[in-house]
Amino acid sequence: MLTFTFRRLLLAIPTLVLISLIIFLLLDLAPGDPLADQPLSIPPEVRQKMRDALGLDSPAYVRYLLWAKQFFWVEPLVFVDWVAGTSFSEGMQRILSWQFRAPVFDIIIQRLPQTLWVVGLAYVIGVLIALPIGIISAYKQYSWFDQIGTFVSMIGFSVPPFFSGVLMIVFFAIMLPWFPSIYDTTLVVNDFESFGQQIRQMTLPVMVLALQTTAQLSRFMRASMLDNLNHDYVRTARAKGMTEKVVLLVHVLRNSMIPVVTVIALGIPSIFGGAIITEQIFKVNGLGQLLITAIYANDLPMVQTLAFIFAVLIVLCNLIADVLYGLLDPRIRYD
């Protein structure tokens, strides 16, 4: 198992290098000029010096290697410095955002809490709702509960977040003014009232995101439970005189959870991707919104770094899913 994990980790490195190269080459074709918003009164030779300082005229491979060095060497060092209070990274050039004129990672660290709170909470809630629904739907197959569950998850699949989000705003923010439609990031939670406000402003985006997670996971849980319910060991358990509760929640559930856990792991990066739209609707200034504004503003270092972080998340979660599968199911060993 350990060698397998290690081999997969090694294999992930060339994948990530290739992905970063693809992202870099795509962005390299960008027609925009980062100096386009500078005043026209700047003399041409000064403009040329600015271009040189930004390294815009050096060949593509030099710029790629520089970015790679900054991403894989300088930024981790900065992190080490920040944690341990050392000064390894002093004088080193960090990845700078053209739009904010500040290190990209500082801005990402600012935006991360909002994304983690809203998206992460939505995912947890979605999973917590989906699992019982899936279990009950499978146990009472074709009952009214199952039919409604199927229909609701079909709707969850089909109604895109940019519509469900807007509908939520229309119903719960305009018609019934219960929740705010805009997420206020400046809100400081220090007493009971502001905590309530925080909960209220998180409700709508969390609901939108959780609906999607629930739709996918509950179907998956149901299918996985149904697969296991017909196995011989279930009949054996019943024949031994186990109560239905024990049969269902101990014997069947544990076996059904194996594929579901890997799907949960695989879904984590896609939630970050889906959050781009939801964050845009509710004006949550998290990572997704950061990416969109960076794309609009032609802020290439920011786009490149964010896209690569998303890719790292995907590869990492794939790896975790694979390892989990092997750990949970002794029938599957990769060596």
Binding site: L26, A30, P31, V159, P160, V170, I276, I292, A311
Partner: protein
């Protein structure tokens, strides 16, 4: 569109019932799928034949009738420039469905090609599946946004703003959504390769090209058809998402996503304006998903006939 292949009788089998009639019989028993097919057919007819009956131009500006509510002259009302929303919905539907169908075709063609080649030729398997895994690991929505941002100008200049954006969006969606099809097809082809009829065909010296076209492809048609229907749904959603983020079609060229995006600005005053394009997208996707569900059951010979 999706049930067209089921209605046409198979070419080889002229005596009695063909396989497609069995498929159709099974499909009919799936209530949701039948309902979905009806709804989808209705939407397609509404957006193709509708503009012939409802002859107001979607770009016609009647500024004095702007922001009017539902009336006999404008059943869905008018927008902030006095353009008829019903006409814009139909024009938008044409584009959205055309994008869905074309992007699905590209992604299914690519996926089938890569899946069949990877499954059939052992030498290329590792390389092509590595490519598939690589694509699956790419953050697709961000990359789509970047692609649209980068190439919109260039393509607009050479093909005109509408056609250029169409080509761009369709190919961008197609290129980023073929991986599932490729994986499924490869798996099927790998299983088929072990079967006796393939061995028999090979032993009489069938060349690879004919082997693929005559023996392999017809047998992997069912999973391809299912992923094609589901592909329409994802393509429509992706296009609407791009339009919604303001990186889709130009503003004077309506699609459902664009209409929804434009209606957001008037959410406070006219919340009903958001409703129609959103409902159209959701209904189309829902019906297509149900069709895919029914097709999956209908094309599976183990379920059929029960």
């Amino acid at each position: 569109m999706t049930d067209a292949p089921m209605l046409e009788p198979a070419k080889a089998d002229t005596s009695g019932r063909s396989q497609w009639w069995d498929v159709w019989d099974q499909f009919k028993t799936h209530k949701g799928a039948l309902f979905g097919a009806a709804v989808f057919l209705f939407i397609v007819l509404a957006v193709t034949i509708g503009p012939l009956l409802w002859t107001i131009e979607p770009t016609f500006i009647d500024i004095r009738a702007r922001n009017s509510g539902a009336s006999l002259a404008h059943p869905f009302g008018t927008d902030q420039l006095g353009r008829d929303i019903l006409a814009r919905m139909m024009a938008g539907g044409q584009v959205s469905i055309a994008v869905g169908l074309t992007a699905m075709l590209i992604s299914v063609l690519l996926g089938t090609l890569i899946g069949v080649v990877a499954g059939f030729f052992r030498k290329l398997d590792g390389l092509l599946m590595g490519l598939t895994d690589l694509f699956l690991a790419l953050p697709l929505l961000p990359l789509l946004l970047v692609m649209v941002m980068l190439f919109r100008e260039t393509l607009s200049r050479s093909f005109g703003p509408e056609m250029g954006t169409f080509i761009l969006i369709v190919s961008a969606i197609g290129v980023t959504s073929w991986m599932q099809t490729a994986r499924i097809v490869r798996g099927e082809v790998l299983a088929l390769k072990e079967r006796e009829f393939v061995l028999a065909a090979r032993s009489i010296g069938t060349p690879s090209r004919r082997m693929i076209l005559r023996h392999i492809l017809p047998n992997v048609l069912s999973p391809i058809m299912v992923s094609a229907t589901l592909g329409i749904a994802t393509a429509i959603i992706t296009e609407s998402a791009l339009s919604f983020l303001g990186l889709g079609f130009p503003p004077d060229f309506p699609t459902w996503g664009r209409l929804l995006f434009d209606a957001i600005d008037y959410l406070q005053q006219y919340p009903e304006r958001v409703f129609w394009p959103g409902l159209a997208i959701s209904l189309t996707v829902l019906s297509v998903n149900y069709i895919g569900d029914g097709l999956r059951d209908a094309l599976d010979p183990r379920i059929r006939g029960r």
